[in-house]
């Protein structure tokens, strides 16, 4: 075990897998010599050579398209999209091509590949470095979408994603790269070093896709969260002394319905939190699933705590960010109704 922050854990996942599998190639903007703007791919080019970790032109559609071709050849590309906000030029290649290749060829061509991308706000990135587009990928066919919330999961999930036979979108909440930010932005952030999930094995291990984790057990209300919002949920429950059960979804497609259902049936109340915009967000899907399966166990309407349906603003970052105050109001409502 070594203490790692999320960046180090993700870097270690790359390193472990590139060492085990010579077919893995890492590509993206600035990922080669420099090691990525967030340093996730640092040292890989030096260790594995220029043809296994290399810089690409600034063309996300070209990165995705060529990576698909490499996967069709038989390589396993692990692609970095520098910011999730930049992924849209690659949308056609990811959605129409990667996501449907197995289906349209009845399994003749398959694409084991990972699209990694730092996502989410809280870093004063303005509207082009803060978005959370996970629902766009959850809505289409043939793509798994994974969002870790801590270093241990980040490494284990990324290794599982690399080994998965299908394309995986892997969104990394960049606000928690260096520490478990809980939304109390006026307080200093504790580094990962003080968190138990920063104890990361140096070698190979996996955290299975499609399995949620119970981040905190509780009896009065279930909070469904992923990424940074897991820490917002934990802190809010702690601050307000609420006996909340916090479910860290970890994978949103396929989502772990059994864990969600068991928790909501136990608590009878459910609050969903995500940073992405509200309308058509993944929270809407979760709310629908919960009411379909747990309607007769529900004591109160399901609440959604989300970003607003506006672009992510720069100066009003903390007004936009769904932090402990917004979650606290929703929890109160869910518990009082």
């Amino acid at each position: 075990m070594t203490v790692m922050n999320m960046i180090e854990a993700l870097n270690s996942a790359h390193d472990v897998m590139m060492g085990r599998d010579p077919d893995i190639v890492v590509m993206g903007e600035d990922v080669g010599y420099f090691g990525g703007v967030f340093r996730v791919t640092a040292g890989l080019q030096k260790k594995y050579g220029k043809t296994r970790a290399f810089d690409t032109p600034i063309a996300e559609g070209g990165i995705a398209g060529t990576a698909i071709g490499m996967a069709a050849y038989g390589l396993k590309p692990v692609v970095e999209m520098q910011f999730a906000d930049y992924i849209y030029p690659a949308f056609d290649q990811i959605v129409s091509e990667a996501g449907r290749m197995r289906y349209r060829t009845a399994g003749e061509w398959t694409l084991p590949m990972v699209f990694r991308s730092p996502y989410g706000g809280g870093i004063f990135g303005g509207q082009t470095h803060s978005q959370s587009p996970e629902a766009l990928f959850a809505h289409v066919c043939g793509i798994k979408t994974v969002i870790p919330s801590n270093p241990y999961d980040a490494k284990g999930l990324l290794i599982a994603a690399i080994e998965d036979p299908d394309p995986v979108i892997f969104f990394e909440p960049k606000r928690i790269y260096n520490g478990p930010f809980d939304g109390f932005h006026e307080r200093p952030v504790t580094p990962w070093a003080k968190h138990p999930a920063a104890e990361v094995p140096e070698g190979y291990y996996t955290v299975p896709l499609g399995k949620a984790a119970v981040a905190r057990e509780g009896n009065d209300v279930t909070i469904l969260a992923y990424g940074t919002m897991v820490h917002v949920a934990l802190a809010t429950a702690e601050e307000q002394g609420i006996d909340a059960e916090v479910i860290d979804l970890r994978t949103i497609v396929p989502v772990d319905i059994d864990t969600i259902e068991a928790s909501v049936k136990k608590t009878g109340r459910c609050v969903i939190i995500h940073e992405a915009t509200r309308t058509g967000g993944f929270g809407a899907e979760l709310a629908a699933l919960v009411q379909e399966r747990c309607f007769y166990h529900l004591e109160a309407p399901v609440q959604r705590v989300t970003g607003y349906d506006t672009p992510y603003p720069h100066s009003l970052e903390w007004t936009y960010f769904p932090g402990p105050t917004r979650l606290g109001i929703a929890l109160k409502k869910a518990l009082e109704d």
């Binding site: 190639v25 043809t51 296994r52 690409t56 032109p57 063309a59 559609g61 070209g62 995705a64 398209g65 060529t66 990576a67 698909i68 071709g69 490499m70 996967a71 069709a72 050849y73 038989g74 390589l75 030029p89 056609d92 290649q93 129409s96 091509e97 290749m101 197995r102 289906y103 349209r104 060829t105 009845a106 399994g107 003749e108 061509w109 398959t110 066919c141 043939g142 798994k144 036979p165 299908d166 499609g210 497609v253 396929p254 989502v255 319905i257």
Partner: protein, 423 residues
Amino acid sequence: MTSSNERRNRPALSLHVPEPDARPGEEVDFSGVAIPAAGSVARPDINVAPADIRDLPYTLIRVLDDDGKAVGPWDPRLDADTLRRMLRDMAMVRVYDERMFRAQRQGKTSFYMKSLGEEAVAVAAAHALDRDDMCFPTYRQQGLLIARDYPLTEMMCQVYSNAGDKLKGRQLPIMYSDREKGFFTISGNLGTQYPQAVGWAMGSAIKGDSRIAAAWIGDGATAEGDFHNAVTFAGVYRAPVVLNVVNNQWAISSFSGIAGGELTTFAARAVGYGIPGLRVDGNDPLAVYAATRWAADRARSNLGPTLIELFTYRVEGHSTSDDPSAYRPQGAGAKWPLGDPLMRLKAHLIGLGEWDEERHQQLLDQLGEEVKAAQKESEKLGTLGGEAAQSVESMFDDVFAELPWHLQEQREQALAEAEAKRK
């Protein structure tokens, strides 16, 4: 809208919307098409610097002259057996196309696309490439499969989405896929295959393989960002790939001017990327063969990609859903000055004393019989219409390697719905 009234002394701007030379009811006029004499274009060594052949994208590489003789430095000097095999493959594409077009009109499938007049583009390239080079085609390169001996019955079963369709009825007719024949699955989202071909070629280079990739795109789809992405990446990494632009001058109803063809040639796009660009008479099978071979040899020698414009003409409609008489003069294809690729190769072989009218008729009869027999065979496995050949359950297979819970649940719902419909 802001008015510019206060700037009345400035000239009014006007928008140019390109318009083809002739519309329905008008005479088509190809007299403006510049056609250099066959054999007049120099053939550089494959290791030439792209900067030294910047004239090639603006001319037209031709081998067969008006008398059917092969002339000039681009003559690939093929033996008679290879020439006859190319003739046979092009004729087979034509016979097959005609048969399947008719099958669509008879209601046996939903859709079909012919490649009449463009057969050389795929067939000659297939002969110039190695059999294990990977092709990333558009929907009009069925000639690749035919030249690589893919069974006609397999193609027909795909067109019919029947019980024999190995793609399980998932794809629109003619969107074939065959990994073993080096034929990448066709996408209906035009242009996507172009960067994929480059990526495949990069993969081959990363692994120190010797196979190269070849891709095709239409003149219309060169306007897609995927084209720019593909050629950029191909140039940057010197990917071993042959990038073909099939300029058949029509993208459904839009003439090539709408894709930028009024301003320059499609081959000339190569100049800006610093790679060689060849412009080739796409109706001259020997020229297509020679250019493909030149580009393939470059790719195989780690000299990188080549962009080849194949100048041809889409003689028929875009597909069975299209009627070109609504937007261009009828019979325009028959007047195309670069002729019919099949007839040109036939004339060449006759000129060599290696072919005659009688053998040609025998060939056509024999191909007709082969296609008819294959059709009979494939129709035993069904045609499109009525009940689908595939089970309801199969609809949920292959979305992922394993069926996740939500698709299991939806599969049960679909089965219940199918049961309810039966009652």
